[in-house]
């Protein structure tokens, strides 16, 4: 059961070979047992989960089940869920129990899925290693001395270690794709505006996008069919007809043009990662795809532009954490301003504070034009590069990350090195494009991710490419030994 796909689980539930309660217990036991050292979860609440599972069993018995009814799903603790702690891995929200549901949670609840728990992450989604959590670092199931990537590291680790059949995450600069790559699972960041941000605790509003983690592209499609959809409560949510994200899964790759940008194979890329990615590109070619050269001349500017824009928006988004209406309040202070200063100094971790300071600076008087405005212009150049590239190809392929998972603590004190992990992922966020990462090999025993970036609303096509690749390969079926 722990290796079953979502459609297999749904079939087993429908055939009453297993109940949702049993399935939920199975995964809850794995979280508490073999999964415990990974520290992948911030909160589990068996009673709540099992109550949902019982309701799902009733729905299945009544013949009213949908594709996800009764399937337990882990949610990144950035999605608020009524009655659940919703902490964003921050001391600031350690005591916050949400009085409402995120749109994504509502959609899963309506589909009859079971909330398995809230997964650990980098605080406020700011990080690339899931070490920056008030609840301690998450560990990589392939090597617990290494990081799972971030910021959705708990979700990626949980899926990789078979602690959950699937999970949700958010991706502001790579926070789904990078941990998916480092943990050997699949993760999709949809087109900006496809998944509602309502109830998804904001990091950088113009970049944040929720998406799924699973072990296969087909499962990602099933999850997207529930997660995606218009939400009037998010002004950036796009009002489009509902689509079936699985519709192109069986489409052959003949006639597909995959673009390979030379800029993604430069000096920063580890040789063994490059080898695995090149192998995957050859596999796509064997499946009928045509490989073409494309150029993203401003690729090298995406990390600096991103690390201006994201902190700027974050500095403002995180101003609401002031100890007045909810969340942490310092115990000792002298007057109102000191209450703010201490609450925020004690409630936020070092990386969050660094980004707030950077963001405050780039928006401040006299620096706005040189940093914030400039970065938003460069963002346009980056988006234009993609538009140009998509004239000659249907999808862009390359590595998701420049290296495999690094060791815990290795980059914790060096923000710049940490930021450079995002070198291949942030551009899709800046442009608002859909992108996914799937396992495509190993380097030194650690998984390597292949990134596919598509044009706006090309999710179904990307999932189709990934699915055909996965039918021809078995990288996505590999399980870390201690969790098999």
């Amino acid at each position: 059961m722990i290796d079953a796909s979502i459609s297999e689980l749904a079939a087993a539930l429908a055939a009453r070979r297993i109940s949702s309660v049993e399935l939920t217990r199975l995964f809850l036991d794995r979280i508490a047992g073999p999964g415990a050292p990974l520290n992948a979860f911030i909160a589990v609440d068996p009673e709540r989960s099992l109550a949902q599972a019982r309701a799902a069993d009733g729905r299945i018995a009544a013949g009213a089940a949908g594709p996800l009814t009764g399937i337990p799903i882990a949610h990144k603790d950035i999605f608020v869920a009524e009655g659940w702690p919703s902490t964003c891995a921050s001391r600031m929200l350690a005591n916050f129990v949400s009085p409402y549901d995120a749109h994504v949670i509502e959609r899963f609840n309506a589909a009859g899925a079971v909330i398995l728990g809230k997964t650990n992450m980098d605080e406020f989604a700011m990080g690339s290693s899931s070490e920056a959590s008030w609840y301690g670092a998450v560990r990589n199931p392939w090597d617990t001395g290494r990081v799972p990537g971030g910021s959705s590291g708990g979700s990626a680790a949980a899926v990789a270690a078979r602690l959950a059949p699937a999970a949700t995450g958010t991706d502001t600069g790579g926070s789904i794709r990078q941990p998916a790559a480092l943990c050997g699972v699949c993760g999709l960041k949809p087109t900006y505006g496809v998944v509602s941000r309502y109830g998804m605790i904001a990091f950088a509003s113009s970049l944040d996008q929720g998406g799924p983690f699973a072990r296969s592209a087909a499962d990602l499609a099933a999850l997207m069919n529930v997660m995606a959809g218009f939400d009037p409560r998010d002004s950036t949510s796009l009002e489009r007809p509902a689509e079936d994200y699985a519709r192109e899964l069986e489409r052959p790759l003949a006639g597909l043009r995959v673009g390979v940008p030379s800029e993604y194979f430069g000096a920063g890329l580890a040789a063994d990662v490059a080898a695995a990615v090149e192998g995957a590109i050859e596999a796509l070619e064997r499946l009928g795809a045509e490989v073409v050269d494309v150029h993203l001349p401003n690729a090298g500017l995406s990390v600096p532009a991103y690390y201006v824009i994201a902190p700027a928006e974050a500095s403002s988004n995180l101003s609401r954490y002031d100890g007045v209406r909810y969340g942490y309040r310092a115990t000792e202070y002298d007057g109102l301003i000191d209450m703010y200063r201490r609450t925020r100094a004690e409630g936020f971790g070092p990386e969050v504070k660094r980004r707030i300071l950077v963001g405050t600076y780039v928006l401040s008087h006299g620096y706005y034009d040189a940093y914030y405005l400039k970065a938003q212009k460069i963002r346009r150049l980056i988006a234009r590069d993609f538009a140009e590239a998509f004239k000659g190809c249907d999808a862009i392929v390359g590595p998701t990350t420049p290296s495999v998972a690094f060791r815990l603590g290795e980059k914790v004190d060096d923000p710049v090195q940490m930021y450079l992990n995002d070198i291949y992922t942030v551009a899709a966020n800046l442009a608002g494009l859909p992108a996914l990462s799937i396992p495509c090999g190993f380097a030194g025993g650690m998984p390597v991710g292949l990134q596919l970036v598509g044009d706006y609303f090309a999710e179904a096509r990307l999932l189709g490419i990934a699915h055909r690749f996965q039918q021809a390969t078995d990288w996505h079926r590999r399980t870390p030994q201690s969790f098999a």
Binding site: F96, R325, R341, K377, V416, N429, G432
Partner: protein, 95 residues
């Protein structure tokens, strides 16, 4: 470019984050490392380029003027640090 210690303290004050004098130098060094990375954008010629504030070039959808939200004060204030008589309490605001 590099930030002076007083600039670090100024932005920390603007952001309402207490930075002790002991922390200040370490913060300054890290911020300057980060700004070293961000510097790169300064060299790019962006004349004539429109800034791209949103990921998608679409316009705003509007909501009808209807009252849809009920009173949920009790639920909201259950997670508040300090309330009294329905009010959120804060250290005295000095005008």
């Amino acid at each position: 470019m590099s930030l002076t210690l007083s600039e670090v303290m100024r932005i920390a004050a603007l952001a309402r984050i207490a930075v002790t004098p002991q922390e200040a130098e370490a913060v300054q060094a890290q911020l300057n490392g980060i700004f070293g990375l961000l510097e790169k954008i300064n060299a790019v010629d962006t004349s004539g380029v429109e800034p791209m504030y949103h990921a998608r070039d679409v316009t705003l959808r509007l909501r009808d003027d209807e009252v849809t939200e009920p009173d949920r004060r009790a639920a909201f204030q259950a997670v508040a640090p300090q309330v009294e008589a329905g009010l959120y309490l804060v250290p005295k605001v000095i005008e």
